[in-house]
């Protein structure tokens, strides 16, 4: 499976990418929503996108809206991974088309469990 990790923090990109790689994903990274869209337009169509909310240039919500407006990207599962933890923000993200929402800070196990719920990996996979 392939994943695209979008976060303006290099540290967070490394952490999320490292966890996904341990779970068997092939991972590409992007530093904001615009770079994420660029990766998609270059033909890198992942099974999973993890995307931060607060980023320069194009934020996570704008990215989700842009992806959902393109029927060619319908197969991708989008997970918001963000420190925005207010209920209203979660509702906005899900309404825009995100499938799942993970609040920072999170553990690797929590991320794995969310992916298992989404059917993106067998539940017995351990980290």
């Amino acid at each position: 499976m392939r994943a695209l990790v979008i976060d303006d923090s290099r540290a967070m990109r490394r952490i999320v990418s490292g966890t996904l790689e341990k779970l068997g994903f092939e991972v590409e990274q992007a530093g904001d929503g615009r770079e994420g869209l660029d990766a998609l337009e270059r033909g890198y169509i992942p099974d999973l996108v993890t995307v931060d909310w607060n980023m320069p240039v194009m934020d996570g919500l704008q990215f989700v809206s842009a992806v959902r407006s393109n029927p060619g990207y319908r197969s991708m599962t989008i997970m918001m991974v963000t420190s925005e933890s207010e209920h209203t923000q979660i509702v906005r993200a899900l309404a825009a088309g995100a499938h799942e929402y993970v609040i920072k800070p999170f553990t690797a196990d929590a991320l794995r469990d969310k992916l298992a719920l989404l059917g993106l990996l067998p539940q017995e996979v351990s980290l």
Partner: protein, 168 residues
């Protein structure tokens, strides 16, 4: 008192941070961030320590019913240690300033985001910044927690962005 005066006094009333959040809540938010980001065995000891002369701060702004800044301050060496701990096996052999700015800023982002969630909303959160801490504008609008991480001092301040209102 005229209606205008009454209206002004009513609208001038704004909460200070100590009415909205307390030190144990900030401590708990920081502990959760440390456990998840820095390491499961990493603890924050709620004891004050003397910050060294060479410090660095990271912060995010919260703009909403309460407007202010969540600031983390520690020694530069400790910030570098935090960066290494956060990156773990992904840490480069030689840390660059950019790595520290990025990682220490992300910790402020996570702590600040969860502080924001504990405050009345809706509020907006800024992107993190790193450098010299913003000045405390109103000492009464400040909630500060001092902790030790691996024996090194670190402070977490939630401080209002607005100066104190004049006393009528």
């Amino acid at each position: 008192m005229t209606t205008t005066e009454m209206g002004r006094r009513s609208s001038d009333r704004r909460p200070v941070i100590t009415e909205l959040i307390d030190e144990p809540t900030i401590q708990s938010i920081a502990e959760d961030a440390w456990t998840a980001l820095v390491g499961e065995d990493e603890i924050l000891v709620p004891l004050p320590g003397e910050l060294p002369g060479d410090v660095v701060s990271s912060w995010v702004d919260v703009v909403g019913p309460w407007t202010g800044t969540v600031v983390l301050t520690t020694g530069r060496e400790t910030a570098a240690g935090l960066t290494r701990a956060l990156l773990g096996e992904h840490a480069p052999a030689e840390l660059e300033d950019e790595d520290i700015v990025d990682a220490f800023g992300e910790i402020a982002n996570v702590v600040g985001g969860n502080v924001k969630a504990a405050l009345p909303g809706p509020s907006a959160l800024s992107l993190p910044d790193v450098g010299d801490a913003p000045a405390v504008r109103n000492p009464a609008d400040l909630c500060r927690v001092d902790v030790l991480w691996r024996g090194e001092p670190l402070s977490i301040s939630v401080q209002g962005a607005l100066p104190a209102l004049p006393v009528h």
